[in-house]
Symmetry: C2
Amino acid sequence: MELLKQRINKDGDIKEGNIVKVDSFLNHQIDVELLNEIGKEFKSRFSLEKIDKILTIEASGIAIAVIVAQYFNVPVVFAKKTDSKNLDKDTYESKVYSYTKDKTYTIRVSKKYLNKGENILILDDFLAKGKAAEGLIDIINQSNSNLIGVGIVIEKGFQNGGKNLRDKGIKLESLAIVDSIENGKIIFR
Amino acid sequence: MELLKQRINKDGDIKEGNIVKVDSFLNHQIDVELLNEIGKEFKSRFSLEKIDKILTIEASGIAIAVIVAQYFNVPVVFAKKTDSKNLDKDTYESKVYSYTKDKTYTIRVSKKYLNKGENILILDDFLAKGKAAEGLIDIINQSNSNLIGVGIVIEKGFQNGGKNLRDKGIKLESLAIVDSIENGKIIFR
């Protein structure tokens, strides 16, 4: 997606360890206009699929999911990372290791909100080693709903998460794939 | 907001301790169409104010903030509840106690995304004792930006958060105020 790559080049902040920070427009401050363009792009990439629900994970996935959902006219469900007194006891659960936060957490979705036979599109802001996506897929499998595909705003192509999903035959659509960072310049696939 | 109250009556799940669970449409599964109606309503309630930015707090506040932001044409900033390797070191911070999670956490906003003189609207899904709102207001004050008002989807009128904010002269707009629950029936203000 050209507009997104331009924006990453313009406003992405390159940090040590091949990290491109996009918190000025994607995951701390959020440019809602850009998210709407992202929504149109995901809709065109999944235009042939019947989608019943979008599944994401808190926190920054939520922003993307709800704006994109407007183009599919479907509800969003987000997996919770923290236990809460108000969460149902009857949940699907999976364990996810986060490299950026260096901890394993349990993600949970109430059994009421993923139903057998529903067609689910997973959306998230980043894909690196793919642990969050794997956790969401595990939950979809437990619920006997159908994984239609995975939509990612920025894939870190130098890590193996994307390859693992594609090798399994999963339809993965990443709007920008960062293959490397060379001399302070981002190389997109 | 009549549509919201109807929806709370229809789909809200009344639990022990005067808790109305709305996770079928607001904070776990999300009805994006309803959020758009909520967006129009907030826009009309803050139509005379100049708003530069919407501030919320992860996680479920994000869904509301980004949809509502479309009606104000402004970016969203969300305060982070967890530390992350990717978050700037230079942040405004405040301590917030969560009754539903029974813990105190530090909320953080990068100093880059709240600027002196900007007009800020705080949005969140729930207001009970008002601790999250107070933390966000503390952060706004640290940044020398201007608090224009607070928009809440559901206020628990039987707790004191709303009264405290109104007593300070803050413009608080709550789309539904639950005053009590009597014999399984929700009494709105």
